[in-house]
């Protein structure tokens, strides 16, 4: 970067200006007169609740919605541009990296990086050159792998890096990242954020959409807040005075007193206990995904399970839930003083366990189904006689849950695919509440949902605990665990490494136990 530019940071020329963008869908204005300015070499965050219009704005920018379907002007690098498709915007130097990665699992890193942008002479791919360039690009993003490795063998974090390398291969000037760290653990997230800062140093500007406000606070130079399709304000982070609460205030248009509802826990006796639980990886028997794990849950208690991605939290939970994951080796489950054997999911449900999965779209819901059918789907027997479902009761029960959990939908006959993430999650919670569980295992229950909906989910979790149910909360967000758990277990490489009461837990001591195998004696 040239020193002349460095001298006046705020005075950088804008690389991108979107002026008065208005995008209408039938019956609704998704964006209304939105203007944003991104300066060269800055990280510009866009914040807003789900459905505020962030993704629509990025789709306008990247040509997913071609010029002409919206009003307003886009100026990129000093020129008015009208992209007719994604290729056009990529050609101009704008690359969008989606939440769902667009890599091909069976192809190698090199092949993926140059997919659609092959290093070729007269139609013949020059693999030697391609590989050389791939190694170069991988070094730039800090990815240490063999360029011939197939994508399917990489973790999500590394796949994300391949995506960025792919963008760099196209000589990108402006990188758009849509929830880039949503699926990453803290380490990988940090690496990615450092990389974004590094790219910024090399003059590549980024637009970042994220729900993780701490990350935004950490790396963004400026923040545009979008609410209900309008740009509410642009905050200059370098000027100071911008913290998470300030951002949240802008996003929700009100001040959230606390992000976690208050509660006085009423904790009873231990009713659920797991002893020496050991489980093998389904494909690689020599790998243990759970090693001799023991833990317990009391009635009315919210127990957190903290661990980095890949530590085995989900695997542990699923193996308990009717052996849905891995191969059972040894261990016992004791509930209400009696040993129980849960050979399949049905048995687990019958014994009062519920597992709300990490990925509601893949594991939690049938997206083709309606709200009411989804809610009763995990325990149809409850409303059936001789195998025949009583649809009057079904509708009645679903309606009750809709009101109780405040699922935003005009009726329970609406398809779940039409709901926002937060409301889908409420449907999943209703589905498991309907099974009358004693123990709810919630795996990342607030992933990808907005701040307002998160608060509601926390309230529901606390209500369940108040009814005397036990809750195991798996979360990658430490503040969330600290905010609502009563006690936190840490998991590292399939082992439970610590048991910390929430009052004593800090992000630091949790992180220490999440990253080392030194096992403290658990009383």
């Amino acid at each position: 970067m040239s020193p002349t530019l460095r001298s006046s940071e705020a005075g950088h020329p804008p690389i991108l200006e979107m002026r008065s963008i208005t995008k209408e869908f039938p019956g609704v204005k998704a964006l209304s007169d939105v203007s944003i300015t991104v300066r060269a070499g800055e990280v510009h965050a866009i914040c807003g609740e789900n459905g505020a219009g962030k993704s629509t704005l990025m789709k306008v920018l990247s040509g997913v919605y071609p010029a002409g379907t919206y009003t307003g002007e886009i100026w990129f690098q000093g020129q008015r541009v009208e992209f007719k498709d994604i290729r056009a915007s990529e050609h101009a130097g704008i690359a969008i990296i989606h939440q769902e990665l667009a890599l091909i699992p069976e192809l190698s890193i090199t092949e993926n990086i140059f997919l659609g942008n092959e290093v070729a002479k007269r139609g013949r791919i020059d693999w030697v050159e391609a590989k050389r360039e791939a190694v170069d690009l991988m070094a730039r993003v800090g990815l240490e792998e063999n360029p011939d490795t197939q994508i399917k063998h990489l973790g999500v974090g590394k796949q994300q890096l391949v995506e960025i390398a792919k963008a760099l291969a196209k000589n990108v000037k402006l990188l758009i990242l849509d929830e880039p760290t949503a699926a990453l653990n803290e380490d990988d997230s940090q690496h990615l954020l450092d990389l974004i800062l590094g790219l910024k140093g090399k003059g590549i500007a980024s637009i970042m959409i994220s729900h993780k406000l701490n990350e935004i606070e950490q790396i963004a130079d400026s923040i545009t807040i979008i609410r209900d399709g309008r740009a509410i304000e642009t905050l200059d982070v370098r000027a100071g005075g911008v913290d998470e609460d300030r951002i949240i205030r802008g996003m929700v248009g009100r001040s959230l007193e606390s992000r976690y509802p208050d509660r006085t826990p009423k904790i009873g006796e231990v009713f659920f206990e797991v002893r020496n639980w050991t489980v093998q990886h389904p494909q690689a028997p020599e790998r243990l995904v759970a090693k001799n794990s023991s833990f317990h849950v009391r009635r009315g208690e919210i127990v957190g399970l903290a661990g980095l991605m890949g530590a085995g939290r989900t695997e542990l939970a699923m193996s308990l839930f009717g052996r849905s994951y891995g191969t059972y080796v040894s261990g016992t489950i004791i509930k209400d003083g009696k040993e129980i054997v849960l050979k399949d999911v049905e048995a687990a449900i019958d014994h009062g366990l519920a597992y709300v999965s990490e990925d509601r779209k893949v594991l939690g819901l049938n997206l083709l189904d309606t709200i009411k059918r989804s809610i009763v789907s995990a325990k149809l027997r409850k409303i059936a006689r001789r195998g025949v479902v009583d649809d009057t009761r079904e509708a009645g029960i679903a309606e009750e849950y809709r009101k109780q959990l405040r699922i935003k939908a005009p009726s329970v006959d609406v398809g779940v695919s039409k709901l926002s993430g937060g409301n889908q999650q409420k449907v999943v919670l209703a589905k498991w509440m309907f099974t009358d569980p004693d123990l709810l295992i919630l795996d990342e229950p607030t992933r990808g949902i907005d701040v307002g909906a998160k608060y509601e989910i926390y309230t529901i979790i606390q209500k369940l605990a108040a009814q005397g149910k036990g809750v195991i909360l798996i979360s990658s967000e430490l503040p969330e665990l600290l905010g609502i758990a009563d006690r936190i277990y840490t998991v590292f490489e399939g082992q439970i490494t610590d048991d910390i009461p929430a009052s004593e837990a800090t992000p630091e001591n949790l992180m220490r136990s999440m990253t080392s195998a030194k096992k403290k004696a658990i009383a």
């Binding site: 019956g27 609704v28 819901l365 083709l368 189904d369 059918r373 479902v389």
Partner: protein, 449 residues
């Protein structure tokens, strides 16, 4: 979340309510569309053939000729909802046919026992194919492709590639009619009685639906909509019954048609209202989510594949009965007709979507198209081309309309109607009152944001 096309049009008008005739779920729209195409096709041929299409003789003919394809479609839609396919049904039908014919001709098995034997053959073959699909995990496409070859060959081995005749009593299930009662009326009393029964059932189920909606407080159509709905549907049924009842003396509603109607009722009920039926949709829609909800997906795979073979066996017997003999080429290409019916009827290739009623309507589209073209003297070559194009068009429109965010074939039309009603309805909530009824581009994207 601000959405434009959320079905917020509670009580907005008859269209959405009439759609409810075809049951709940998200596939209703398409069926509504395909029903429209069926009516258009029938009216078109009725005009082109100067009223021949809806003459009693022709209607009876259509039922006799296509009932076995429609029976296959019932099983096939369940297979397709599960995300599988069954290519073996034609061969299974032919194999069952020859076994049943042989059992009566060579071993003098009485015909009722022969029918039982035929069904057992279906169960056995179904268990065989179900085992490979569900418990070994071979894709159904492969298992049934193998089955198609195996049972075609088995038919020819058993029958030594010849035609084996069946006794006339057996012929009843394929070519028999409801008997005439000894009453001095110039129509078939039993057929009309069935029609009246059907009409009464329509009225009763509408009343029941309204009672349920009142009880649960869910959206309820205005009374006039229900009345119009019942009158129209009951009218159609009574009219059809009248046509069947007043055909050539000695003919009336065919026995095979009765078998079909019973199966449609039973399987609609099974798929809609039983735990087993719900599990079919659950596994087809999202297998992982279903297993994590305690559904035993392999068991469902097994029974759905088995059920298909049993229905194929039944279809095979009806066909043999109608053609009074079992031959080596019976059932050739049936699987394709059945599969086409299911897809025209709105099922999704990726599974999870489809209904029995929809598939029957899809099958009737194929049947009336075939029949009408034949009445017009169009050759088999062109009939085949036209059928192919109709299938492509039906699924193509479906794919296109899904891409633009809707859910249906001709649903484009009904969605526009819906949008208009929505914006017209004063209580239409939560919609920014700006954009008006501009019906272009992709409405669903807003929701996904």
């Amino acid at each position: 979340m601000t959405t434009a096309n959320d079905p917020t049009q509670k009580k907005s008008g008859g269209l959405s309510d009439i759609r409810k005739v075809f049951g709940g779920g998200q596939s209703t729209l398409r069926q509504f569309g395909i029903l429209g195409s069926l009516i258009v096709i029938i009216v078109f041929f009725q005009i082109m053939t100067n009223g021949l299409t809806l003459s009693p003789t022709n209607l009876i003919n259509v039922v006799n000729q296509y009932s076995y394809i429609l029976i296959l479609a019932i099983g096939m839609v369940m297979v397709i909802i599960m995300g599988h396919i069954d290519l073996s049904v034609g061969s299974v039908a032919a194999f069952t046919g020859i076994i049943v014919a042989k059992s009566m001709a060579d071993w003098n098995l009485p015909w009722p026992l022969a029918i039982v034997l035929g069904l057992l053959v279906g169960v056995a073959i179904g268990a065989w194919q179900g085992f490979w699909v569900a418990y070994v995990g071979v894709p159904a496409f492969i298992v049934t492709l193998a089955g198609m070859l195996i049972f075609r060959g088995a038919n020819q081995v058993v029958g030594q590639s010849t035609t084996v005749p069946v006794p006339p009593e057996f012929g009843k299930i394929g070519a028999g009619y409801l008997p005439e009662l000894a009453v001095p009326l110039n129509f078939n009393v039993l057929t009309m009685a069935l029609g009246v029964l059907g009409a009464a059932w329509i009225a009763w189920s509408e009343l029941r639906l309204r009672a349920q909606q009142r009880k649960t407080g869910s959206d309820m159509a205005p009374a006039w909509v229900s009345i119009v709905k019942v009158v129209v549907l009951a009218g159609v049924i009574l009219w059809a019954a009248w046509l069947f009842a007043t055909g050539r003396p000695g003919t009336s509603f065919p026995i095979s048609g009765i078998i079909l109607v019973v199966l449609v009722i039973v399987y609609s009920f099974v798929t809609n209202s039983t735990i087993f039926g719900r599990h079919i949709y659950a596994v087809g829609g999202n297998r992982l989510a279903a297993t994590l909800s305690g559904v035993k997906d392999r068991r469902i795979d097994f029974f759905v594949m088995m059920n298909m073979s049993v229905l194929a066996a039944l279809a095979g017997m009806i066909f043999v009965a109608r053609s009074t003999a079992s031959g080596p080429q019976d059932g050739n290409g049936w699987e394709l007709d059945a599969i086409a019916s299911v897809f025209i009827g709105g099922a999704a290739v990726s599974g999870g979507i489809g209904t029995v009623i929809g598939s029957i309507i899809g099958g009737l589209v194929m049947a009336f198209l075939n029949n009408g073209l034949q009445l017009l003297g169009v050759g088999a070559d062109f009939v085949s081309i036209i059928k192919g194009l109709v299938l492509l068009l039906a699924v193509g429109v479906d794919v296109l309309s899904k891409r633009s965010g809707g859910a249906s074939i001709l649903g484009i039309w009904s969605r526009r109607r819906q949008a208009r009603l929505e914006t017209a309805a004063p209580e239409a909530p939560a919609v920014v009152p700006t954009a008006g009824t501009n019906e272009t581009s992709q409405p669903a994207d807003v929701v996904r944001d």
